[in-house]
Symmetry: none
Subunit: 552 residues, 2 copies
C-alpha cells in the first residue's frame, strides 16, 4: 500500500473564513436580503465556521443594518467580520468615513483591504508608495483602537501579481500591516490567475522572510491566510497549496459564488481538508451539513444548483452506464471517492441508452416486480434505445419511463380515448394580442367530453381544455400543477421541421398531504403535439398513482 | 520580478485527446445526435485536437453509425478513436463481440480500457489476476492486427486507486499493455478523488519504473497520458500535475461534461498549458476558438452555459459597476489574468450606462454612423435594457439588434402590413399524424396577399405561408434558409403561461455568391407569436440588406 504523500495526519487546525455575504455578492446577478444574510450567518455558525464576513458597512445601508441586527444573534462560535478599505490618502484614519463606518459596525473582527501591487499604487490609487504603506499601517492600527474589535486582518489585494512584479514592495506592505497590529495577513489572488506551484513558492517565501509560524499555537500573532478566485480553474488546488505551505486560514464562499469565475468554493475545501488531508476544520459533524448548506445558498441567491458540483451536486454520486451499475451496487466504495452520506449527499442510478438492463432493474425493478425478469428488462431497454434514437430522454422523465414499463408489460390502462384536439392561434394587427383557443374531444368512460379553453399559448390552451374534459370523472386532475417546462430542438441543423423534445415537470398533493413531483417527455416535429404527449402522459401517470387496482 | 516556477518555456508538445463524444455523454441528461457528433468532430479538428474519441461501437447503434459516417469527413489533423473494453475472460480476443466491433469500426486509433485495481479484478471482473493481465495483453495486441488501426492506447481504469492499493500489480497491468503494443498508457483517476501531490508522485514513479520518456520525440513508443474526473474539484490541477511530471497527453471533455462531477474541462487545460505554462498544444491560433467551441457544446447538449466557467464563461471577464470600472478601462490587464480576446471571450462591464452605450457604439456604431451620437446610443441602450428585462437577448440576435437601431433612428422600413395570421393544429386519433395549417394575410405594396400552407409544425406552416405572400414582390425571400432554431423558457417557475424566447438563425446566398448568416429573436407567452416575430424580423432584415436605398 502506497502512502498518499498528501496524507498528513498531524490534525493541524485551519480557520474557515466565509465571505459569501460580502465577496460572494459581488457576483453578477447575486443579491441577498438582510433576512437571508442573518439566516445564512446562523447556518454557517451551526457548522463551525470561524469567521463570517458580513459586509462592507460603508457601501450600502443593508450592510450597515446587518451589523446592527447580527449582534442580537446568539452565535456559538463564529466571529462576525466587517470589511473595508484603507483610509484615503493624506488624511488621518479617524477622519475617514470608511474607517468610521467600520468602527461603528462594532464588529469583533475587522478586515482591511489595501494595495500590494506597485502598479496599482501608482496607477489606480495614485499615491506615493510610502504613503500607501502608511495608509495600511494607520488603518489597521486605528481599527485596533476600537473597544469592540479585538482582531484586525489585512487583505493584501492582488498579492500574487504584486509579489511577482515587485516582491520587495509587496513584502513591505505586509510588514506595514504587521506594524499596525494585523493578526492575519491574507494573501489574495484577486485576479484568480495564479498556478499552485507559484502559490506554494510565494507562501513559503513570505512565511520564511517575515518569520511567521504555520500553526494556530499563538493565534493572536501574525499568521498567513489565503483568498483566491477561480479564473484559471485552480482555486481549490491553489488554496490547498497555500495551506500545505503554511497558511492557517482559508477564505472563500459557499458554492464558489463571486465575481467573474467566483471565489474558491469552501464546500470542496472543507471536504478535502477533513476527508483527504486530515486537517481539523469546522465542527466534527459539520461535513454532513455541507449538502444542506450548499442548497440553502443556491435557494437564497436564486441560482439553479450546479448538478456536477463536487461533493454536493445532484450528480456527484450519480451512476450511468450499464456495465458499472451492477458492480456499484455490490462494492459502491470502489466507484466513489467518498461515501455520499459523509457530506449529506446520496447515490443515484440513472437510465439511458448507454445503460444495460441492470440499470432498469435498479430504477424500476422493485416497483414493478421485474427485478429478476430479464426478458421484460430487455424489452424495455430496446424500447428506450429506440425512443432515445428518436430524440426522447427518460433520465429527467421518470413518469414517462414508468408508463413505458406498463406498456411493455401490457398493463398500461386507458383512462380515455382521444377523439381529436384542435388548437387555433390567431393574430390580427401587429400590436394586438394573439388569441389562442384549444378544443379537446375525448371519450371518457363511455361519455363524450368536448371542451374548449383559451390559453396564453397553444400548450396552455390544450392543457386547460383537457382538464375540463377530465375533471368530472377524475377530480384529482385539478390538484396537478405544471411547475417547469423545457423545450429543446433535437436536431437543430434541420429546417423549421426539426423535432422538438418537451420535458414537463408536474407537482400534485397526494392524499396524505405530501407534495409529489414527476416529469414526462414528448417528442415530435410539432411542438404542440410533443407538449400534448407530455401532458397526456402526466394525467395518465397521475391517475395510475391515485387510482388503486393497477398491479403488475 | 520573481520568476514563476511554473513558467516552463521549453515548448514541449502535449497531445489533446477529446472524449466529449464518449465519456462526456456518460453525464446525466447528456445525449448527442449523430449529426451533432459529426459537427463537433469537425469543430474539434479545426482547432487542432489530436484525438477524438467517437464512441463505444458495441454499446449502441448510434456509436457504430458514427464510425461509418466519420470516414466521409475530410479531417485535417485529428485521428478518430474507438473505445472498448478488454476481451472477456476465457476466450480469444478474435471471438469477442466487443473486439470485433472495435475492429469493424475501422478507426485509425483504438483505446482499450482494462482493470488496474486488484479489488476490481477480484470482485467485479472475478477473474484470476494473471488472466486479467492476459486479457489486457491480448486485447491490445489483437487491435494492432487490424489493417486500419495503427495506434492502440491503453486506459488503465482506476489507476490511482489501484496503484495506492497494490502498486506492483498496477504496474504489471501497464507492462501487459506495453507487451501488447500500447503506445499510450492512460493513467485514469476514474473516481476523481486523488490530489495533485499524489498524482505527481505516482506519475513520476511509473515513468521511472517503466523507463518511459516524457516527450513526443519518439511518438510511437509507449508514453504516459492522464485522464481525470473532477470529484474533488481538482481535475485541472491534477491534469497539470501529471503533465508537469511527464505525461504527454491529456484526455478530457469540452466544458468538463461527463459522469458525476464531470471529466476535466479541456478549455482551461488548453488555455493554462499555452498561456501560463508555455506548452505547445492545439493549433497556434486555436485558443481564440475556445469560446465558440464551448458554446457549441452547450448548445448541442442543451445545457445552459455556466456563466462563471473559467476563460469562456459570460462572466469570466465581467466587471461590476462602481469604482473599479474606470480603472478597468484604463489598465484592464491589471484586473484580468489574461486578455479576454485571447480565448475568444470579451470584457463586460455591468450596470454602467456609459459603458453600455459604448458597447452599442462598438457593435453597431460604425455601420450606422452613430459612433459619436450619444443621444441615439442612449435611446438604443434604454430600449435594450427594457427588452432584456422582458426576456429578450440580443447577443445571439445581431439582425434584431440592427432592426432596433433602425427603429430608434426612425428609419425602419415597412415592407408589408400584417392583416392577420392564423395557425390551426389538428390531431385526430392517437396514432394519426398531426395536421398543421398556417394562413397569412398581408398588405404588400398596396396588394393584398392571402396565402395558406401546411407545415410540420406551427412555425414551419406560418413560415411557408409568409414566403408565399412575399415571393412575387421580393423573390429573394426564397433564397433564405432557416438553419437553427432555439427555444428557451425565460421564467420557468411560472405555469404553462411562462414566456419563451425563440432565437432563429438564417442563411442566405448574397448576390456575390457568398453565404451570409444572421439571427433574430422573439419573446412572447405564446411560442407561435415569439417565432413569428423572429421570422418577420428575418425577412425584414434580409430585404434591408438586399434592397439598396436605405441609408441612415
Amino acid at each position: 500500500m502506497v502512502e498518499n504523500p498528501n496524507g498528513h495526519t498531524d490534525g493541524r487546525r485551519i480557520e474557515m473564513y466565509d465571505t459569501t455575504l460580502r465577496d460572494g455578492t459581488q457576483g453578477a446577478e447575486i443579491a441577498l436580503t438582510l433576512a437571508d444574510k442573518l439566516k445564512l450567518t446562523i447556518a454557517l455558525d451551526e457548522l463551525g465556521f470561524d469567521y463570517i464576513e458580513g459586509g462592507y458597512p460603508l457601501s450600502n445601508p443593508k450592510d450597515a443594518a446587518y451589523f446592527d441586527k447580527v449582534r442580537d444573534l446568539d452565535l456559538k462560535h463564529a466571529r462576525v467580520t466587517a470589511f473595508g478599505m484603507t483610509r484615503r490618502k493624506g488624511i488621518e484614519a479617524k477622519d475617514d468615513p470608511g474607517m468610521q463606518a467600520l468602527v461603528a459596525s462594532h464588529a469583533p473582527v475587522i478586515t482591511i483591504v489595501g494595495k500590494t501591487w506597485d502598479l496599482h499604487v501608482d496607477e489606480v490609487l495614485r499615491v506615493e508608495r510610502d504613503e500607501n504603506l502608511a495608509m495600511i499601517r494607520d488603518s489597521v492600527a486605528f481599527c485596533h483602537q476600537a473597544d469592540t474589535t479585538d482582531e484586525v486582518f489585512y487583505d493584501a489585494e492582488h498579492f500574487f501579481d504584486g509579489y511577482r512584479a515587485n516582491p520587495d514592495y509587496a513584502l513591505d506592505t505586509l510588514r506595514a500591516a504587521v506594524e499596525g497590529g494585523a493578526t492575519r495577513l491574507v494573501l489574495c489572488d484577486t485576479n484568480g490567475g495564479s498556478l499552485p506551484e507559484f502559490i506554494s513558492h510565494a507562501v513559503t517565501n513570505v512565511r520564511e522572510t517575515l518569520g511567521l509560524g504555520d500553526t494556530l499555537d499563538n493565534p493572536t500573532g501574525p499568521l498567513l491566510a489565503i483568498h483566491v478566485h477561480n479564473d484559471g480553474a485552480l482555486a481549490v488546488a491553489n488554496s490547498l497549496a497555500a495551506i500545505e505551505t503554511g497558511c492557517v486560514q482559508v477564505q472563500g464562499t459557499i458554492n464558489g459564488i463571486g465575481e467573474r469565475c467566483g471565489n474558491v468554493d469552501l464546500i470542496p475545501i472543507a471536504a478535502n481538508l477533513r476527508l483527504k488531508l486530515g486537517y481539523d476544520c469546522l465542527r466534527d459533524d459539520a461535513l454532513k451539513g455541507l449538502h444542506h448548506l450548499a442548497m440553502l445558498v443556491y435557494e437564497m441567491v436564486g441560482m439553479t444548483p450546479v448538478a456536477g458540483q463536487p461533493y454536493v451536486g445532484a450528480n456527484a454520486f450519480t451512476h450511468k452506464g450499464g456495465m458499472h451499475v451492477h458492480a456499484v451496487q455490490r462494492i459502491a466504495h470502489s466507484y466513489e471517492h467518498i461515501e455520499p452520506d459523509a457530506v449529506g449527499n446520496q447515490r443515484r442510478v440513472l437510465v439511458s441508452e448507454l445503460a444495460g438492463a441492470s440499470n432498469i432493474a435498479a430504477q424500476v425493478g422493485a416497483k414493478f416486480g421485474i427485478a429478476d425478469d430479464r426478458d421484460v428488462q430487455r424489452k424495455v431497454l430496446e424500447k428506450i434505445q429506440d425512443l432515445e434514437h428518436q430524440g426522447y430522454q427518460f433520465e429527467a422523465a421518470d413518469a414517462s419511463l414508468e408508463l413505458m414499463v406498463y406498456e411493455a408489460l401490457g398493463k398500461r390502462p386507458a383512462f380515455w380515448e382521444l377523439g381529436h384536439y384542435r388548437c387555433v392561434i390567431l393574430k390580427r394587427q401587429r400590436d394586438e394580442e394573439t388569441s389562442t383557443e384549444g378544443t379537446v374531444k375525448l371519450n371518457v368512460d363511455g361519455t363524450t367530453e368536448y371542451r374548449v379553453a383559451e390559453g396564453d399559448g397553444p400548450v396552455n390552451a390544450l392543457y386547460q381544455a383537457l382538464i375540463k374534459c377530465l375533471a368530472d370523472h377524475y377530480p384529482e386532475v385539478r390538484t396537478i400543477h405544471l411547475s417547469d417546462y423545457k423545450v429543446r430542438v433535437v436536431n437543430p441543423t434541420a429546417e423549421t421541421a426539426a423535432r422538438v423534445r418537451v420535458v414537463i415537470e408536474f407537482r400534485y398533493t397526494a392524499e396524505d398531504g405530501s407534495t409529489r413531483v414527476f416529469s414526462t417527455v414528448g417528442v415530435d416535429e410539432n411542438i404542440v403535439e410533443a407538449s400534448w404527449e407530455a401532458i397526456s402522459d402526466a394525467f395518465q401517470y397521475l391517475l395510475i398513482e391515485t387510482r388503486a387496482g393497477i398491479t403488475v
